[in-house]
Symmetry: C2
Subunit: 204 residues, 2 copies
């Protein structure tokens, strides 16, 4: 299941994934069958089982790919001093890169975060957002001044951000990754932050 050198393997998996996305645009994951999948992909049903254990395995593999990419982006960001630079999009390069990646994988992200999507994946992504917030953003604030439980605050913000991402994907991604980053962090910095009683450490 590891190597992908052979053209036939690459081609088959690509068509399976395309059929998968295409089907998820129409029906729920529960109600789609391996038969549906292979018919749309124009491959033999048996061929599917040469690549995946079942449809759940396919979903998992697709999600895993996205998940590890997002983790990589956030981890790369951790070594950067996020508070340097003037423009918010420059100061928060990982968020710009997240939006760029979402744009790249828009077809899959749209269905997996959509009404026929997977709520457990949604939750996993949210947890990554929360971790990133704690590691790369909240470090610049005095947490002792919080008037709201920290978990409730991170839940609020991460849910809001995920919702905005869904909105962005569903409205055709008209704003650029830089614009989205600015919008989100403008609301974050001037909004829930003050509301929750957070006080910036010093600068700005």
């Amino acid at each position: 299941m590891g190597e992908k050198q052979d053209r036939r393997i690459i081609r088959t998996r690509k068509e399976i994934k395309q059929a998968f996305i295409s089907l998820l645009e129409e029906k729920s994951f529960d109600s789609l069958t391996v038969r549906d999948l292979t018919e749309r992909a124009n491959i033999n049903r048996g061929t599917f089982y040469l690549h995946y254990l079942d449809k759940f395995d396919l979903l998992e593999k697709c999600e895993e790919e996205v998940f590890s990419r997002i983790l990589t982006i956030f981890n790369a960001a951790a070594v950067i001093d996020v508070l340097q630079g003037e423009d918010i999009a420059v100061r928060l390069p990982f968020f710009v890169r997240i939006f760029e990646y979402l744009q790249e994988e828009a077809a899959f992200m749209k269905v997996i975060l959509g009404p026929n999507g997977d709520p457990s994946f949604q939750e996993k992504i949210r947890q990554v957002f929360i971790k990133n917030m704690q590691d790369n953003i909240l470090t610049g604030f005095n947490l002792s001044s919080l008037q709201v439980p920290i978990d409730l605050f991170t839940t609020y913000v991460s849910s809001a951000h995920l919702g905005v991402i869904q909105y962005w994907l569903n409205t055709g991604m008209k704003e650029s990754p830089e614009e989205m980053t600015s919008i989100i962090f403008n609301i974050l910095m001037n909004g829930p932050v003050k509301a929750s009683g957070l006080i910036t450490m010093d600068r700005m």
Copy 2:
């Protein structure tokens, strides 16, 4: 499928619903079968089909019940002047009642909004929140001062609120409905509102 006078019908449907919730706490909706359902409910498999077309129909009926109750609460609120009174929980009675109802239906709400839940239902609930915001809250503001697209603002807030509700359900509902209303609206009024450029019409 309409009348429920007969005790046997009431009893059977109640046990099916209980088994449904109980199973959703363990496994995903996709992977549970009608057989699972009827075994746990201690009824004959055929009996299930006397009440529901299939497991999807069961899910739909359960969701419909919750949905109409929430709609009723918001609609009742529409006739009240939400800006009267001093305390935020008094000024926004419909949100308190929403939390009260969620508490009442906690078992089902927890699973249906959880990792094994239904994202399409989640989205429907969010749309109701948005509608309520537009009808009962944003009427008190000058929308022309918005610096962010109105849809993006309502998406942000409704997603955040739904996230907080999920958090509340999953942490054992320690805060009272009144406390939750205060927390949410404190963040809303002092947070995203200012951030988005909203200006209050006059008072406060």
